[in-house]
């Protein structure tokens, strides 16, 4: 058996190995460049009928802040809602919302129906502030540390498992570090 005849097999085995590793990756997830950066400057108005909007200043105060980008028209946002409520109840956490390109009445019905876990909500009607965050889909969730730096981004709905394995340990670490 000469190397020449063996070559196709070797190339294929290499290829198969790469494909095998590739099966475990998430190709659709767009990498974020926001990690380690200060939160972008913004000042969003409240949803109509509410008093408090959301501005970057609120994210620079000490403590762990979580910012969730959501919309009432997004099905997965409903899916992750119980997990958001659980997040809110973790000690020393402030949970904020950015309402993405929503119809005000729908957004209010969404919050009235499921419950409002957010300490404050900024209404991003045009979606421009979300673009400053590097958002490319809803829901996305960002964790901001005590210095106002983004330390983690989660794409897609937060599952119960994500809550236990990703958010809780991270939040604990941040609180200990502070």
């Amino acid at each position: 058996m000469r190397l020449k005849s063996l070559l196709p097999l070797l190339i294929f085995l290499g290829l198969a190995a790469v494909l095998w590793v590739g099966l475990g990756l998430k190709p659709r997830e767009v990498p974020t460049v926001m990690i380690g950066r200060a939160v972008p400057e913004f000042d969003l108005p409240p949803l109509d009928g509410r008093t408090q909007g959301l501005a970057s200043a609120a994210l620079r105060v000490p403590g762990v802040k979580i910012v969730n980008v959501f919309a009432s028209w997004c099905v997965p946002c409903r899916v992750e809602h119980p997990q958001l409520s659980a997040l809110k109840n973790l000690p020393g956490i402030a949970l904020y919302g950015i309402n993405y390109k929503d119809n005000v009445a729908d957004a209010r019905a969404f919050l009235d129906g499921l419950g409002d876990p957010f300490a404050a909500i900024g209404y991003d009607r045009s979606g421009r502030v979300s673009i400053d965050w590097g958002v490319y889909g809803v829901p996305e969730t960002y964790v901001v540390d005590g210095d106002g730096k983004i330390v983690y981004r989660h794409v897609g709905p937060i599952s119960d498992d994500d809550l236990k394995t990703k958010f809780t340990p991270l939040i604990e670490r941040l609180r200990e570090g502070a």
Binding site: V75, K101, G127, W133, Y136, V138
Partner: protein
């Protein structure tokens, strides 16, 4: 790509809408508009990933087109517009990322393949010609004669 949206809707809701993507205001200055269009062709629609925002009807692509036009009107250079988006979405937003060592492999590979194929071919052809040039053994000579005779016979047949 809308099919993709349907599939993804279950796990994650990409920012897509069903607009055709031509309804937005074009810049009144044709030169600026042309520049904007050229830029849009090199920017990735992050939702559909392999398309530019110029040819995508995703909602996010529409917003990004809007931003591109806005920055251009504000007097940004092409590089500044690109930087604005790279700042938010990373190099990923550029469809044609700057040539770097990682991408060099990709671009040089076809050239390498052609060179390897050509060398192999030349080596094989040379070797076979050399082998063929070797004189026939007595046995081969006999077989050759037999074959030649047989063909002659065949040729004689009507």
């Amino acid at each position: 790509m809308r099919r993709l949206a349907l599939i993804l809707a279950v796990i994650f809701y990409p920012l897509m809408a069903l607009a055709v993507g031509v309804d937005e205001a074009r810049l009144s200055d044709p030169a600026l508009e042309a520049r904007a269009r050229e830029l849009m062709k090199e920017l990735r629609c992050l939702v559909c990933q392999n398309q530019s925002i110029d040819e995508s009807d995703a909602d996010l692509a529409k917003d990004l087109r809007h931003i591109v036009r806005e920055r251009i009107v504000a007097g940004d250079s092409d590089a500044a517009v690109r930087r604005f988006l790279v700042d938010r979405y990373g190099d990923w937003v550029l469809l044609d990322p700057p040539m770097n060592a990682r991408m060099m492999v990709l671009w040089l590979a076809p050239l390498g393949l052609v060179v390897v194929a050509a060398t192999t071919l030349i080596v094989v052809l040379r070797r076979r010609r050399r082998e063929a040039a070797a004189p026939l053994t007595a046995e081969e000579e006999k077989r050759l004669q037999a074959i030649l005779n047989a063909t002659d016979e065949e040729a004689k047949r009507p």
